[in-house]
Symmetry: C2
Subunit: 556 residues, 2 copies
């Protein structure tokens, strides 16, 4: 069987200007990056603001397992299939991070015949957006320490600096460190650490900004730490916001690429969904909606993480109202949720499937709480049996939800045509009554409780006294209207990655809360989740290299 890389290499891509023209983007609005990637100018994006808006379809999924579910491939396959049946459709995806690419997960440009291309470029540096975000993050960090070094006029407490450095890499050794060692000429010693770039507030701001003005404003609001009296010091106080915005200016223009079947795709921004808000940029989604009849977009990891944040953070901030939702599941993954080991997934196992199904049902039911009609995409594997598929369809039909088997990985658009029809039906029926889960004015702790109870099915939230006190301080400082961005494991509804299926009665343990005043949310770190991942014993990087013709081997 051909690998993703081989399929991608065999494809003939069209010049990006041709893809752009068909999507309604004139040549004058394109900044080409090579022959098959382009940025769409901010001026053009701004001009589209008043045009008729398309409909927004969210692709989300069950809680991920080691079996793989195929959310990105489904987003791409659905977009291709909608285009194939004559609906002008734009696909909106996140940019991949180098961390997973060199770690264990691999790239994030889809797979099989449902890929965005050129996959090597997209998976590596692409148009440099993440590097710009990393630079802006670290410029602020350098300005913080430089301010301390030169006398600390603002009175920032070095022990209360909350701004961390960032790197687009899985590097656990950078989680906790002491910097500024070596004596008075070398800096100011203090505790510090790096987060992966996709977890940084600059990434969140980049993805939520509505334009350059809003970007510079949000950057100015970033809080870098506190004085001894607890008052905040911001990036604006340090005069860092302007240079940060300058570093991000070109990056803020959305990136246009194509699928292997020639659909246009905007791939822009990429916060992780477990430790950040998990969806592509507002700039790209809005541009897509101004150009296409339908925008298909993805939120990361399970619907408890990605879809919840998509609705409560992104859609609320950008004034977006999605019209339908696709929940991706596989028979294999549901059997894993039912207790089967990965090695045994090849066998029919209706008992395990029945045990794992509640994970899917729970996610589907949750999406209804946002007022969204749902269709389930059952991403097919050759090992799926007719009885297994029937079991899933029957269970969903009891909820009034359709499940559509898909084979876009192997068959491209043709493999998702039934799904496209089902989505088309949902859009035609116009049943969506989108609403966020919680109102902005709800106290922060209650917002956390609402997410935990309604979405995670937790019995309670554990808020240690210092965490509760911190939330209280955020409220008093005027940040009570912020959203809440939960950072927790993606593997379970709970904060315990070993609790598969649909656990109930658990407690959500909030370990730490961080205020992202520029992004406009409070990050609640729950359980053991890390904002800087580590590499596995045998990182994917070990197998990646250039062959004799200078081509890339081992990227997947």
């Amino acid at each position: 069987m051909a690998t993703d890389l081989e399929i991608a290499r065999a494809a003939t891509l069209r010049p990006i200007a041709e893809i752009a023209a068909r999507a309604g983007i004139p040549d004058s609005a394109l900044e080409p990056y090579g022959k098959h990637k382009a940025k769409v100018s901010l001026d053009f994006a701004a001009e589209q603001g008043t045009k008729p808006q398309g409909k927004l379809v969210l692709v989300t999924g069950i809680s991920p397992t080691a079996a793989g579910e195929g959310k990105t491939t489904t987003t791409i396959g659905l977009g291709d299939a909608l285009n194939a049946r004559g609906t002008r459709t734009m696909i909106c995806l996140r940019e991949p991070s180098l961390g997973p690419c060199f770690g264990v997960k691999g790239g994030a440009a889809g797979g099989g015949r449902a890929q965005v291309a050129p996959m090597e470029d997209i998976n590596l540096h692409f148009t440099g957006d993440f590097h710009a975000i990393t630079s802006a993050n670290n410029l602020l960090a350098a300005l913080v320490d430089n301010h301390l070094y030169w006398g600390n006029e603002l009175g920032l407490d070095p022990r209360r600096v909350t701004w961390r450095r960032a790197m687009d890499m899985n590097d656990r050794n950078l989680r906790n460190m002491v910097v500024g060692l070596g004596g008075p000429a070398q800096g100011v010693p203090r505790e510090d650490g790096f987060d992966i770039t996709v977890a940084s507030e600059v990434m969140a701001i980049f993805c939520l900004a509505s334009g350059l003005d809003d970007l510079q404003d949000r950057l100015g609001r970033v809080i870098v730490g506190q004085r001894r009296d607890g008052t905040a010091v911001t990036a604006r106080d340090l005069k860092a916001d302007g240079a940060m915005a300058v570093l991000l200016r070109d990056a803020l223009a959305p990136n246009l690429v194509q699928t292997l079947e020639g659909s246009p795709a905007l791939v822009h921004g990429g916060p992780f969904a477990n430790i950040a808000h998990g969806c592509n940029s507002v700039m790209a989604t809005r541009l897509g909606l101004s150009l296409a009849e339908v925008v298909v977009t993805e939120a990361g990891f399970g619907a408890d993480l990605g879809a919840e944040k998509f609705c409560d953070i992104k859609c609320r901030a950008a004034g977006l109202a999605p019209s339908a939702c696709v929940v991706v599941a596989t028979v294999r993954a549901l059997k894993m949720h039912g207790g089967v080991a990965k090695a045994d997934l090849g066998r029919e196992d209706l008992t395990a499937l029945r045990a794992g199904l509640p994970n899917l049902l729970c996610h589907v039911e949750n999406m209804g709480k946002f007022g969204l009609p749902v269709v389930v995409a059952l991403n097919s594997f050759t090992s799926d049996t007719a009885a297994e598929i029937a079991l899933v369809r029957d269970a969903l039909s009891a909820l009034g939800t359709e499940a559509v088997p898909c084979t876009h990985w192997a068959d491209g658009a043709a493999g998702a045509s039934a799904l496209a029809e089902a989505v088309g039906r949902l859009l035609g029926e116009g049943q969506a009554r989108f609403r966020p889960l919680y109102p902005a004015e709800m106290p922060l702790a209650d917002k956390l409780r609402a997410i935990a109870r309604e979405i995670y099915r937790a019995a309670d939230v554990s808020l240690p006294a210092p965490v509760a006190a911190r939330l209280d301080r955020f409220e008093k400082a005027g940040f009570g209207g912020s959203g809440v961005c939960v950072a927790k494991t993606q593997y379970s509804f709970s904060a315990d990655p070993s609790l598969l299926g649909a656990p109930e009665g658990h407690t959500l343990p909030v370990r730490e809360v961080r205020l992202s005043a520029g992004a406009g949310f409070v990050v609640a770190i729950c359980g053991e989740v890390m904002t800087m991942p580590g590499l596995p014993r045998r990182p994917a990087a070990e197998a990646i290299r250039l062959d004799a013709e200078g081509r890339i081997d081992g990227l997947f």
Copy 2:
């Protein structure tokens, strides 16, 4: 008077494909990055290998002062002037680093009417090369620590890890740190630090590599540290070389831009000349020589640093033989070398000028030791008097060297036409007999002594016992044939930045030596020079921001 940014903005740039075509680069060999930047494909560069070679002209300068000398503007002005008189000329420059851009020095794209454009892009992320280099450097660091974390099969001594992390930023707080804190799940505690990207061995390898194969080979040879028995562990041992090369693949293709007068310029790679080897990539210089009659290139800081390394490291490694050398000086800077403060430079002061002149004479004489004919470019300021200019010209004519006043900053090509004529004469005479300063087989300590005595005019080299022992170990391990890359202050021939003019009898204090086995040289850190700069009290970043139209303000 218009700022550099205003002049650059007012210029009308030609499509990069037009610049390329005139330089002999077909459209098929271009990867556009926007409308005014492009990478020239590695395949095209490789095909040019056997074509007739142009002549190589090095632009270097006196020891820099706070008055500014204008080496980059002279390189650009000379290139424009040569093109204007019908000599097909390619300009080869280094890419700027974000460190100085946000610190005190500002950008590095020339100035006035002698600029490469688009200056904002070139000064900021450009085509992402430095970000790729940073990523490759830090991927190796992550793989080192990950190896220690997962059991350390290779037996690397955590106390003897010499590979440092990198960031393209001035950030003194990252010079010395302890990483891996927080317990067994968080890494392996050890001392660590960041260098600025332009000082990293990956930057040096990138700039010395002759192609992708050589790049991957050199990366494999990088030594990350030692075992307890002193044997080396390499990037190849860690299986890191392939993924590092993959990260650098696209970056290795040279970047083509244009001057404000439409000359082609390859701007590629950018090691600092004080803490690294100080010249643009071999890939770019070779490509330029295959296409043009003359390549004008710059080596960083004073001729003691940049030109010496250009000759002894770059030209030796790449088999290049320069044909002529331009030493840039200004009356103002020479008066500073003669003891005048910056505020007093507006007055004629022949005594101070006479006292400062030896700095220039010494650099000019030094270039003769490499077998290169020299012309001095006297970069003019309106405050220069006729008597001052005559004094400089007379002093040089006693050495048989011509000094040509230039006004390219204000006048573009026209202001450097006399210089272009003088350079043309030197090239026509064919007097160059290029030779490196020391033979490859000379012991490392003797190479250091040769540079110190012949170039720096030092009486001696101080090699503390541990440093001498380390050099000895490098020799025994088979690295005796390496070049030597001195890291020292750029402000003086000596390692003491306060010793201006042409000091003699000083001692070069070697503080530390590091083996760059992939780059093929030993770095000798002398005196107080830092491989990670700091920011000033009022960093340039504070004044940089987006204006209401989204344009960049405050970049210079």
